[in-house]
C-alpha cells in the first residue's frame, strides 16, 4: 500500500492501532506482538539502579577498535584496526561520571553507566545518527516524563520509557522465539518507526520471557551519502545482583560505496566482575587535571585605579558568565567549570584582591569592597553585558549585591 501523505499514514496507523488493541483485548491468551512489546516496555519503565557500579570492560575488535578521547570533548573514538582493550571502570550513576583506568594505570574520566537507565538515555539522545554532534553542549531537554507516582524506593528511577520507546512510536513485528545472550528463553521483536523518523533507531529487541525485560536491544542507522555505513549497536542485559545491567554488547559497521559492500568491522565487549559498592570516595570522580597554565601565571592584569586584578576570560557570546570564587579561593576554583562553559558563551573568572595574581586591596575586605572592585573591573576591562553571575560559597554573598 502506498500512503500518499503523512496524514493518511497517521490515520491508517491509528486505525491499525485501534484494531490491534481490540484484537488483543479479545484474545488475551496470545497477545499480539504490539501488546507483548507494550508489556515489556512497562516492565522496563521502573527498574532499580545502584548508586555505584564497579566492573571490568573487556573489548575485542575485528577491524575496529575504540579509545577514549577527552579533547575537544569526551567521546568514545572509533578507529580502524584490530585491538584488545581492558579498563577497570567505576561509575557513579547519579550523573554517569566514570573513572576509566587502563592496564598501564592511566586514568581518564568519561560519562558511562552500564545500567539499563543509561541505555534508555542513549535512546533519547540519538546515539548513532547524531554522533557528529558529540561535542555540542547537551541540549536542555525537559525532565523525563513521569509515568508513575510510585516513589517509595529511592533506588527505583521512573524513566518514562513508555513515552520514549513505546508502541506509540514503534511498529512491532513478531520474529518468534530467540535465546537471550544470557541463555534464557526469549522472544524476538523487530521494530520500525511509525513516523519514519530516522532518530527512532531502536530496530530489534529480545524480551526475556520469564521477566518480560529486554535482554537485548539493537540500534541501527545508515550514515553518510554515497559512501554509507550501516551501523548497529547491540546491548546485552541480565540480572546481576538484583539490578538489570548491561553485561556486554557489540558494535558493527558495514560500509558501502554506492550500494556495494566495502567492508565489515565488529567490536565486541563484555562487562565482568560487576560489583555495587555502597560508597566510593569523591576523589574517584574528580576530573583529570586540565591544562594548569592559565592558573600558573597572570592572564590579564586590569588596572582598577592604582591596583590590578587578574582577569581570565574565554569563549564568545552573550550573556557573559562571571564566576565568583569561594572564600579564600581564587579563579582556580573554576578550572573544571570554565573550560566547559566556554563552549557555550563568554565566561570570565577573576582573582579578588589579594588572591592569585591580583594586588592587595584596602581592608576591611567586606562585600562592599569586593563588589566595588568587581564593578570597576567590569568597566575597566569592557566586559560586555548582560551578565549571569555565579557565586560559589562566600562568592554567593558578593553576587547578591
Amino acid at each position: 500500500m502506498i500512503y500518499r501523505n503523512a496524514l493518511v499514514r497517521l490515520l491508517v496507523g491509528l486505525l491499525v492501532a485501534i484494531l490491534v488493541g481490540s484484537v488483543s483485548a479479545s484474545a488475551q491468551e496470545t497477545p499480539s506482538a504490539t501488546e507483548f512489546y507494550r508489556r515489556a516496555v512497562v516492565t522496563m519503565n521502573e527498574l532499580p539502579e545502584p548508586p555505584f557500579i564497579a566492573f571490568r570492560y573487556e573489548g575485542t575488535g575485528a577491524g575496529l577498535r575504540i579509545d577514549l578521547a577527552t579533547e575537544p570533548c569526551e567521546f568514545f573514538r572509533w578507529k580502524l584496526g584490530d585491538a584488545r582493550t581492558e579498563w577497570r571502570i567505576k561509575s557513579r550513576t547519579s550523573d554517569a561520571r566514570a573513572e576509566f583506568v587502563d592496564t598501564a594505570g592511566n586514568r581518564t574520566m568519561m560519562h558511562f553507566n552500564p545500567s539499563w537507565v543509561q541505555t534508555y538515555r542513549q535512546l533519547r539522545s540519538k546515539p548513532l545518527r547524531d554522533a557528529h554532534d558529540m561535542c555540542a553542549p547537551p541540549s536542555l531537554r525537559p525532565p523525563d516524563p513521569i509515568t508513575s507516582d510510585r516513589k517509595s524506593d529511592p533506588a527505583v528511577k521512573t524513566i518514562g520509557t513508555v513515552l520514549a520507546i513505546g508502541p506509540g512510536i514503534y511498529r512491532v513485528e513478531d520474529r518468534g522465539s530467540a535465546a537471550c545472550p544470557n541463555g534464557h528463553a526469549g522472544h524476538a521483536l523487530h521494530l520500525s518507526s511509525r513516523t519514519h523518523d530516522p532518530h527512532h533507531e531502536l530496530t530489534d529487541v529480545i524480551v526475556e520471557v520469564s521477566s518480560m525485560r529486554f535482554c537485548m536491544v539493537r540500534f541501527g542507522t545508515r550514515l553518510g551519502v554515497g559512501f554509507t555505513s550501516d551501523a548497529t549497536n547491540e546491548h546485552y542485559f541480565a540480572d546481576v545482583g538484583g539490578y538489570w545491567m548491561q553485561t556486554g554488547g557489540q558494535a558493527e559497521f558495514a560500509g558501502r560505496i554506492v550500494g556495494v559492500a566495502s567492508g565489515h568491522r565488529v567490536w565486541r565487549y563484555q562487562f565482568v566482575d560487576i560489583q555495587f559498592p555502597t560508597s566510593l570516595p569523591a576523589a574517584t570522580f574528580a576530573p583529570t587535571a586540565t591544562d594548569p597554565s592559565p592558573y600558573t601565571h597572570p592572564q590579564r592584569l586590569v588596572d582598577i585605579g592604582g591596583r590590578k586584578l587578574n582577569l581570565y576570560c574565554t569563549g564568545t557570546g552573550l550573556p557573559t558568565v562571571i564566576l565568583e570564587a569561594g572564600g579564600g579561593e581564587s579563579s582556580l576554583d573554576w578550572r573544571f567549570v570554565q573550560p566547559q562553559l566556554t563552549k557555550t558563551t563568554r565566561t570570565c573568572s577573576y582573582d579578588r584582591a589579594g588572591y592569585g595574581f591580583s594586588g592587595r586591596g584596602p581592608l576591611p575586605r567586606d562585600a562592599a569592597a569586593t563588589v566595588g572592585d568587581l564593578h570597576a573591573l567590569i568597566a575597566a576591562a569592557g566586559i560586555p553585558k548582560p551578565f549571569v553571575l555565579v557565586g560559589y560559597s562566600n562568592g554567593e554573598l558578593y553576587s547578591r549585591l
Partner: protein, 190 residues
C-alpha cells in the same frame, strides 16, 4: 548590578561556625572551626609583617598542604600564594573579621529578583561523609537546608539542583558537570 541576566548560587555561604545553634548541634564541627580560625588568625598576624619564610615554624602551619589531585605546577602556585605577604591577612579579613559587615550589607540590600532566572546548586552533603559523626552531619545538613530555602525564593523562577555524591568543598571539581548544566540552563532561559 545592572544588566543582570541571571544568578546561580553554588553551595551558598553559611555562617555555621559562628552560630550557637550549630555549636550545640555539632560540637565537633564547631571545635574544628574554632581551630581553623585560630590558625588563620596567627597566620594573618604573621603575614602582615612580610612574607612567611619557607622552613620557618610558622610555615608548617600556614602553608597550604599540597593537593595530590592537583598538578605540581598548581600546588607550587598555591604554596607561593600562602607564603606571600598579606595573603593570610586579606583572606582572614574577608572570611572572618569582615563577615559581620558583609552580612549586614546583604541584609540592607535584601531584595527580590522578580522573575530573574535563578538556580541554586547544592551538594548532597555539607561535609564529606565520615568527616564528622553521623548525627552531626545530619544536624548540619538540616540547618543549612532550611537556611538556603529563602535564597531560592528571591526569584519566582528560582529552583534547586542537587549535586549527588559531592560536599560543600568539592562540588565545583567533583560535580563540575552538574554546576555547568545549571549555569547553561540559566544562560539558555535568559
Amino acid at each position: 548590578m545592572s544588566e543582570l541576566g541571571g544568578l546561580v548560587f553554588v553551595e551558598p555561604a553559611f555562617e555555621g561556625n559562628q552560630e550557637a545553634r550549630v555549636d550545640a548541634a555539632a560540637p565537633m564541627f564547631a571545635r574544628n572551626a574554632v581551630h581553623q580560625i585560630a590558625v588563620a588568625k596567627s597566620c594573618s598576624a604573621a603575614s602582615e609583617n612580610g612574607p612567611i619564610l619557607p622552613g620557618s615554624p610558622l610555615s608548617a602551619t600556614c602553608v597550604v598542604p599540597a593537593d595530590p589531585l592537583l598538578p605540581q605546577a598548581l600546588n607550587d602556585m598555591l604554596r607561593a600564594q600562602s607564603l606571600r605577604a598579606g595573603w593570610w591577612t586579606d583572606s582572614y579579613s574577608e572570611n572572618l573579621t569582615a563577615i559581620p559587615l558583609t552580612l549586614e550589607e546583604i541584609r540592607t540590600e535584601q531584595r527580590s529578583y522578580g522573575a530573574l532566572p535563578l538556580a541554586m546548586v547544592t551538594a548532597e552533603n555539607i561535609v564529606p561523609p565520615g568527616a564528622f559523626p553521623p548525627a552531626e552531619e545530619r544536624s548540619i545538613g538540616e540547618i543549612m537546608r532550611a537556611r538556603r530555602l529563602p535564597l531560592m525564593q528571591l526569584s519566582s523562577r528560582g529552583y534547586q539542583v542537587e549535586a549527588r555524591g559531592c560536599s560543600h568543598g568539592d562540588i565545583v571539581s567533583d560535580c563540575a558537570d552538574t554546576v555547568v548544566d545549571a549555569i547553561r540552563a540559566v544562560v539558555a532561559v535568559r
